[in-house]
Amino acid sequence: MKKILIVDDLREVRDLVEKTLRTNDRIVLKAENGAMAVEIAKAEKPDLIMMDIMMPGSVDGLEATRMIKNDPETKHSIIIILTAKGQEADREAGFAAGADGYFIKPFSPLELMRKVDEMLG
């Protein structure tokens, strides 16, 4: 069973991503802010994390990505950023933080599905 962690401050978006990515052989976990994401990543070691950037609280998605990728215990989780921040500089900042993929909202569920299938092998 593969574990997927979905991080977004909006429930409606978390549910959309869950419906897009869930299969019978995947477990879906959810978090609504960066600090929670880091905590769950540590405890559950998910195979893949879908990470929003703009979230309330002191840890935004970029910071959470950095923390997860810098921790030897959690750095193996694949992180795909899914954000409304669509400029080239934002994308560069995402990859600089350690992300493995970058999707801009509004996104195509079909494309995301394929990308995740490919990354989880």
Binding site: E12, V13, L16, T20, K105, F107
Partner: protein
Amino acid sequence: MESSESESRRICEEFKSQVAEPTMELVDANHRLHADIQRRSPLEKAFKQNEHRFRELVEAAGDVIWSADLNHRYTYVSPAISELLGYTVDEVMALNCLDILTPASRARVMSLLTEDLAVEQEIPASRTPFRTERIEQYRKDGSTVWVEATITVQRDQHGGPTGVMGVFRDVSVRKHIDDLKSDFVTAVAHELRTPLTSIRGYSELLLVSDDLTPEERRECLMHINRQSVVLADIISGMVEIARMESGRDLHMHPTLCDVTEQIHVLVTAYQAQSKTHVFEMALPTVPVLLFTDQERIRDVFDNLLSNAVKYSPNGGIIRVTCRLIDGACLFTVEDQGIGMTSQQVRRIFDKFYRVDHSNTAMSGMGVGMTIVKYVIEAQGGKVWVESRVGNGTTVSFTLPMAGSAQLEGGDTVEEDTHRG
């Protein structure tokens, strides 16, 4: 004795005859000169008139027309400079032109000048190339102004640079409009992305997913439907702002009302919703009667209170006061939140300007404070903001008391009657 007298007379005569010829020549030359002056005088007069006309043209221009030498000293500046920078012509002539540019603009101008002055070429006078650059200059009072500078290098007949001349035009207003436009695009892009994420995502899911239960399908459709309503609301908000802007059509329905009661009801409702914040009220004990549009004033307080809650992430006290001063009513809404920089305060009433883009939870088109300003000013009031980073924000506004508003109302009625 006698011989010496005749001797001196002889010398005198000789001298006279010697002087006579040059004197004649001088007189002649004088005549010629005089004729020459006579001939030139109309030319000179025309030349002077011409110069006067050009000087008048240059000095009447709203733009600043100037020339400078290669040491960055002005050799001529038209008087419009006082309007633009607050310096007199004499003051600015004593300055180095580059010293009154902001560091970024200075660097830009330096590199352009170096580039242009390095070129040594013959250029037909009729086709002197010029550059147009937006630069930021310091005014005498320390504030800055955006200027569109058109700059041309002056050259001698060998093509070597002898100086620089050009025109400055105040483009602060244009720059401000550009900023507004960019805020608008950012705000709209940000506000549209969230509803569109649901609409695109859930509709595509419905199209490609076979394993959704009937309830889930219904759920997807509900999200799509609800977010399309959000999009419609965004459009309504934009239309509302445009209507307020035009100033024609604010739809005020003033009635006589006790504003303290309204504040009380609204603040109590906010306190019930937000457990993290403490709401305090300091209101007069007697009813405060205002002739005002109740619904609009409720919108104003709603905007101010929701901002106070939104930008005080760690809770704290939110205080609402009302005081009577000189025939007006002064209201304040004060929080202990994150506050704003002076730069942010300056732009707070600009439409589509949002102080914080950092998270989706802080949604909004950045039009709340713009609407607040329109509503208050439309009723003869004033609104202002004081804030410091980390030290909370206080929004104050005044509204005229019922007495004065009623008087104005009475005047209007009388006028109407006269027109009959």
